[in-house]
Symmetry: C2
Subunit: 224 residues, 2 copies
DNA sequence: CATATACACGATACTCAGTATCGCCCCTCC
DNA sequence: GGAGGGGCGATACTGAGTATCGTGTATATG
């Protein structure tokens, strides 16, 4: 008989019990019992009770870091966009889990704080990457901080909207729109890109931000 | 004999013990004993062990909210600037306490998360205010999120720099500079475009004006 | 086949944060 | 002087998280 791995059984038991009886009312003993293991085993798989709900931030952070590290300053915008897309896709791919967790996190302050702390880790990652990218240009530290905060805020705004709507649509376009907004916001303050190419692009007044950004991105990609 | 109030004695005892023996190694009993009160009394004044280090976020949040609420949409930028100044001044005025707390928070993950969660409350406050201010204009939610995140990020960047430097200078100018950066960034985006077209062009840094003009003329010709 | 070894799990005991409750003492007001 | 209320101490309890030991099981090695 194919028994799922213990870590998964524990996570499912935790979510189920939190849903049924609430977070504070559920003890680690309850979770372990429901998963058919001992309390000791729970703490072997999860460092804390909260961890049973957030099992994947570490791996996701690793993936983001890898994507950013694989990029150079030239392709920074593409790398950031990709990285944020990876994060959002991670939520969307597991919509059911994301929604259940969202409902839970909204209710329990301890989990809310934990979620916020996790978000800060992403922001820090982006900040360090953008900081390296900007080098020692004037205000590099400030700009890195602002860009990282904006990118993360844009992602969170799109994600929260999607979660509040019950995960009923594909948020990709909204994410691209939001990221385009962020990039456009900072672009006018940045130095011109170093390039061997000359690109002149004109758009009609009614051109959507997506269209503009797509053209820019295509240009940046083509340089690699 | 003028004995300081119990809450203050507790806070001082907590900071002193955290400094001397570390956060995890200090129990609430130790803090209470050093302050000359019982453990019960400690929890009467502070909801948790962490609270003894962050005694003032609630009152500060109230002051910020009051300042923002006293403003209309017309004076929103001034209100936000003032509010952020109030927060920074609160740290600067108690430089010694701020610095000790900063050193402590950097070392203890639990305190770090708590600090981050507190920052999120400020960001939420700004977001709600900016959201009301923007009304139901297009992308109001996204823009409110981005502006709030940027304002808070700017403040934190300035504050962290000041703390890392040991609180040895007046960070007011740096804050104004950072806020000016944020405001300029968003003002640029808020202004409606007056031209019929949006032009996006990148050139190599050393491109001569002739080369630029030639490229543009070539593009324009090719459209005809 | 027998024994050694490594590992995963259970069991137990402990510390300490946080909660609840009771009783006492002192202060104030009637 | 008596009654009530609030601040404080004392006690007991729950539950998270840690440390440690024993035990069974599987794999390797003789």
């Amino acid at each position: 008989m194919p028994t799922p791995p213990i870590s998964q059984r524990l996570a499912e038991a935790a979510v189920a019990l939190f849903d049924e009886h609430g977070y504070d009312e559920t003890t680690v003993d309850d979770i372990a019992a429901r998963a058919g293991v001992s309390r000791s085993t729970f703490f072997r798989y999860y460092r804390s009770k909260e961890d049973a709900i957030f099992p994947d931030h570490d791996t996701l952070l690793d993936r983001i870091a890898a994507r950013l590290r694989a990029s150079t300053a030239d392709t920074a915008i593409v790398a950031i966009t990709d990285a944020v897309r990876i994060v959002l896709a991670h939520y969307v791919d597991d919509a059911e889990v994301s929604l259940r967790r969202y409902r839970l996190v909204r209710k329990v302050p301890a989990l809310r704080d934990r979620e916020i702390a996790s978000v800060a880790r992403y922001q820090r990652l982006f900040r360090e990457f953008v900081g390296d990218w900007l080098g020692d240009s004037p205000d590099a530290g400030l700009r890195a901080e602002l860009m990282a905060a904006s990118v993360v805020a844009a992602h969170n705004q799109v994600l929260r909207g999607w979660l509040r709507a019950g995960g009923t649509y594909d948020p990709s376009e909204r994410l691209d729109h939001a990221l385009g907004y962020v990039i456009a916001t900072f672009r006018h303050l940045e130095q011109p890109q170093e390039t061997d190419q000359v690109v002149v692009a004109t758009f009609s007044r009614g051109a959507s931000p997506q269209a503009v950004m797509a053209a820019i991105r295509q240009h940046l990609d083509s340089r690699a």
